[in-house]
């Protein structure tokens, strides 16, 4: 069990390297940009996969957490604090090394929150919001839970769209790179394309490793028990409400990490990231990948997001997600990785072999 756990992660790492080499050899290095973006969306999808497949909860508001992470990072790293340089709190933050001086596009000096500090705020903020809305909302089940999270997503979308400070419909721009360690930054610069591809997919690999560990642990077992028979899980001592809440918060934080990193990578974020259609898309990806199938979710997420970002679906973008969801639900409701191609083929053969049914008497 242990070896297969890490073998899969290693296999995943090999695939990541293989894809990079292939884009290089195939003369399509620019594909890496969309693959990098797909990685950050994949973080949302794997967290949601845990929530839907293991805790058995649906969320139609995960784009909101992605946006909360992105907007927190984007806003804090672009908000100019230099006029307040000498003010008490700002001076204090500056002395603590949490602020950073930067030259803006026009050569002026600006002072803003350091990306690491902004990232920390993004995480804490998404955690706190997920906790606060999770407590009342997770008491609901099925359709009601979906509706409540949908409502939450709509609120966040309206807020970012309607707030002038957040750039309203234009969103935030000029978000600086995120220096992770010396010589390695999350940025959209062409020179950093390869390193950013590895940063993004390394982050996904790390997230996957944590989630795979979790799934194989006492907590993962308890989550599957909740999914299997909630009342019995409670009678075995599993604090059902608390485990659901923690899973919800964990998936929200993963979404916020993706949002924060993608905002630095793209140099900005727009309200579209919080749109309800985005949340629906994440749910569709998880459903197609197979609820609770982390690897199926990764495969689906990278394939669909990459094709979508490259613009292959054109104006039919959302329609394609809908059709894929529909087809997978009809042919393999447990997700593509659990699709047994023999089943539909056998059913078809059986139907062909069966002699024509006699006409029914009127």
């Amino acid at each position: 069990m242990l070896s297969s756990r890490y073998a899969r992660i290693a296999l995943f790492g090999a695939a990541v390297v293989l894809v990079q080499v292939a884009t290089q050899l195939g003369g399509k290095p620019f594909f890496l940009t969309q693959l990098t973006m797909s990685a950050y969306y994949t973080l949302v999808a794997v967290g949601l996969s845990l929530l839907m497949g293991y805790a058995g909860q649906i969320s139609l508001g995960h784009a909101a957490f992605f946006a909360i992470g992105g907007y927190a990072s984007g806003y804090l790293t672009t908000f100019d604090l230099s006029p307040l340089r000498e003010e008490g709190l700002v001076a204090l933050l500056g002395r603590a090394g949490l602020l950073v001086d930067r030259a803006d596009l026009y050569g002026g000096q600006t002072l803003a929150v350091h990306p690491w500090a902004a990232f920390a705020v993004a995480i804490v903020l998404s955690l706190a919001i997920a906790w606060a809305i999770g407590v009342p909302v997770l008491k609901l089940k099925g359709h009601y839970l979906a509706m409540a999270t949908l409502g939450f997503g709509t609120i966040v979308y309206s807020v970012v769209l309607g707030t002038a400070r957040f750039g309203a419909a234009d969103g935030l721009s000029s978000v600086p790179p995120f220096p992770l360690v010396a010589g390695l930054a999350v940025s959209g610069a062409r020179a950093d394309r390869v390193s950013n591809y590895y940063v993004a997919w390394g982050l996904v690999a790390l997230g996957l490793m944590l989630l795979v560990n979790l799934v194989e642990s006492r907590v993962g077992r308890a989550l599957r028990a909740i999914h299997g028979a909630e009342d019995a899980a409670g009678s075995m001592g599993v604090d059902v409400a608390r485990f659901k809440l923690k899973t919800f918060v964990l998936s929200a934080v993963l979404a916020a990490v993706g949002g924060s990193f993608l905002t630095h990578f793209n140099g900005g974020i727009g309200p579209g990231e919080a749109a309800v259609m985005k949340s629906v898309r994440y749910v569709a990806i998880v459903a197609v990948g197979g609820m609770g199938s982390l690897w199926g979710t990764v495969a689906t997420s990278v394939a669909l997001n990459f094709l979508s970002l490259r613009g292959y679906f054109g104006t039919l973008d959302d329609a394609v997600f809908g059709v894929v969801l529909l087809v997978v639900m009809l042919t393999s409701p447990d997700g593509i990785l659990r699709l047994d191609p023999r089943v539909p083929v056998k059913a078809l053969l059986a139907r062909l072999r069966k002699p024509n049914r006699p006409e029914e008497a009127p």
Binding site: V219, R221, H227, G234, G237
Partner: protein, 254 residues
């Protein structure tokens, strides 16, 4: 002090008094049975004791500690474990995994420990696996460890459920109609098993329809009728109680 002391417990569903002012005790180390005709309120009483339902009135003290109104997982953590009248196994999990969930209250790895696969959790997981296998062995179904639990036969599923309840290391085990759906041979096995559970020092409270089993395994029998207790004594005395006979066999109006 009795292990479990129930006094004045009541529960009403709309116009139906499912449990009305019921009081009884379960002494440590004994097997006590709750019997009564269908609809007498036995299962509701179990739900009240295990925290699945909250009572309207009355108190439940377990080990001298008040537990009425506590949620099910808290009651379980205090050492009260149960099985269900309609088997409630975790689907898409093996028999062994089902029993491992029973060890939940005896272990503590949380989200962070699990995500980072901390070394101390390895020891804990090994201990959980050992305990779970030991319980499957105790029930004589060690060979079924890796079978999907819900695909097993009815009797085997009952055994898995029992193993799961025992894995929690309970002081008090509530068995809700454990003989339902079992054939005669399996029922005989069950009565031996309840004896072995008692020998482990586990106190047992059992709801059961099978009178042969009840009279065979119980130290004390309480009889419920229409939500109220009408008798509470040793099996012999209960069998002779005229009120019990009336409830079970009807009025002698010949």
């Amino acid at each position: 002090m009795a292990l479990l002391e129930v006094s004045g417990l009541s529960k009403r569903f709309g116009g139906l008094q499912a449990v009305g002012n019921v009081s009884f005790k379960v002494e440590k180390g004994t097997v006590k049975a709750l019997i009564g005709p269908n609809g007498a309120g036995k299962t509701t009483l179990f739900h009240l004791l295990s925290g699945v339902l909250a009572p309207d009135a009355g108190t439940v003290a377990f080990n001298g500690r008040s537990i009425h109104g506590l949620p099910a997982h808290r009651v379980a953590a205090l050492g009260l474990s149960r099985t269900f009248q309609h088997i409630r196994l975790f689907s898409q999990m093996t028999a062994l995994e089902n029993v491992k969930v029973g060890c939940h209250v005896q272990s503590r790895a949380g989200f962070l420990a699990g995500m980072f696969h901390l070394p101390w959790t390895w020891t804990e997981e090994r201990e959980i696996a050992r305990r779970a296998r030991a319980e499957l062995d105790f029930l004589g179904i060690a060979a079924l460890a890796d079978a999907e639990a819900t695909s097993l036969s009815y009797g085997q599923q009952r055994s898995v459920e029992l193993a799961r309840a025992l894995a929690a290391g309970p002081e008090l085990l509530l068995l809700d109609e454990p003989a339902a759906g079992l054939n005669m041979r399996e029922t005989v096995e069950l009565s031996k098993l309840i004896g072995r559970i008692k020998d482990r020092g586990v106190t047992v409270l059992i709801v059961e329809h099978d009178m042969g089993l009840v009279m065979n395994v119980s130290d004390e029998v309480a009889v419920l009728s229409y939500g109220e207790k009408i008798a509470d004594a040793d099996p012999r005395a209960v069998q002779k109680d005229p009120e019990v006979i009336r409830v079970y066999l009807g009025e002698d109006d010949a």
